[in-house]
Amino acid sequence: MITHPKTEELVRSVALWLEQIRPQLDPRNAFLARVAGNALATVERELTQGPAAEAEAVTLMAQLLGHQGDFEALNAELCAAIRDGRFTVETPGLLPALQTMARNQLAIDQPNYRPEGASARP
């Protein structure tokens, strides 16, 4: 992959440009520009943190299900196991694994969100 610039840097450059023009926009478009900037920031985090988050999810789901597989197949099988009642909140290791996966995804999608059980924003 080309690194001058990296993909995430291209994304960040567009986000910075949106910030620059935002003061000239009407209130509705200024709001939408902020949302668009947040979308680009999410893309940037997914590019940089996504691979590790997915790898950890694959490892955790493979442990729960007892065999290897790719993310999509393991995720579908995990959903089916919960749906048909084979996995419940009592299943050893299930909630902690889901907790780790949720936190990793939150760090990409909404890093400022303070989830249930967390302390107040410092």
Partner: protein
Amino acid sequence: MVTDVDVRVDVREGLERLAERLGGRGARLTEAQRLSGGASMETWAFSFEGEGGAERLILRRRSAPFDPDNTRAIPLATEAALIQATGANGARAPKVRHVCDEADGLGEAYLMVRVDGETLGRKITSDPRFDAVRPVLARQCGEALAQIHATPPPPGLALKSVDAAGELDRYEEVYRATGAERPILEIAFQYLRRHVPEPVPLVLLHGDFRNGNIMFHPEFGVAAVLDWELAHIGDPAEDMGWICTNSWRFGRPDRPVGGFGDYADLLAGYAAAGGPPVELSRVRFWQTLGSLRWGVMCLGMYLSWRDGVEKSVERPMIGRRVTETEADLVVLLEQGL
């Protein structure tokens, strides 16, 4: 059936006509500004000076076609009737000034007398202006809910009735239809189905009672309960659980009621205003269902963009807010109800 609403009316022109209609001949508009634009609802603040002096009003109007078969939302005239009925019963509801008709040319709309205060959730949870009043807000919310719930629903409004099992069915159907596969949503459905609380007598609910839909005054607290479009008949704990759902705590998960108060104060206020006893676990059930509901709603908002119904960049980004509900749900499942 989609009701026929011309969504491209000139609101400012309509407000000028309303000023004349309500303020008498020669009344003139002195202020008009759009406050917020939801996807389907507009709010305008406007003022006029007429024969009877100056009036400061809020216009709430539907700006997109309304499909009563595909939504939980009620017509705006029904909303106005509920605000009047609950207000007459002592609830802190805004005062309805006028329900618009065809002559007003604004489509579905009504006017309220403007109430001073703040609705932005983050200000209520964190602005120092609210430091003094914040400790009593959860109790006041409990009192406000008891008054709403004690209001006999006005006859002829065709409000929908909802119970916990029905809500789970409804949201699971929506979730399945999205085709999304999210293990935490799956296990939340499974868990909640196994913990559906015993039925209780159903009452009039606000339906969207959360920090963000309540006008708070920095000195007096709850000034008016707004945004009644999801009102329905249901379990009193549904309204209590929704204001405890973490998505509406604005960065203060340590304060379960709206990011400003504690469960005990909400329940005490409810009881003090004459509400029947409500178990905390019942509130927690509806709070958990609230997170699940918000997660499914976020998926739905993403789909409306994917399917080309909505084109705003907001919609796909709201889709990523499913993640916050998963982060909340997994903790709630670990804690138990």
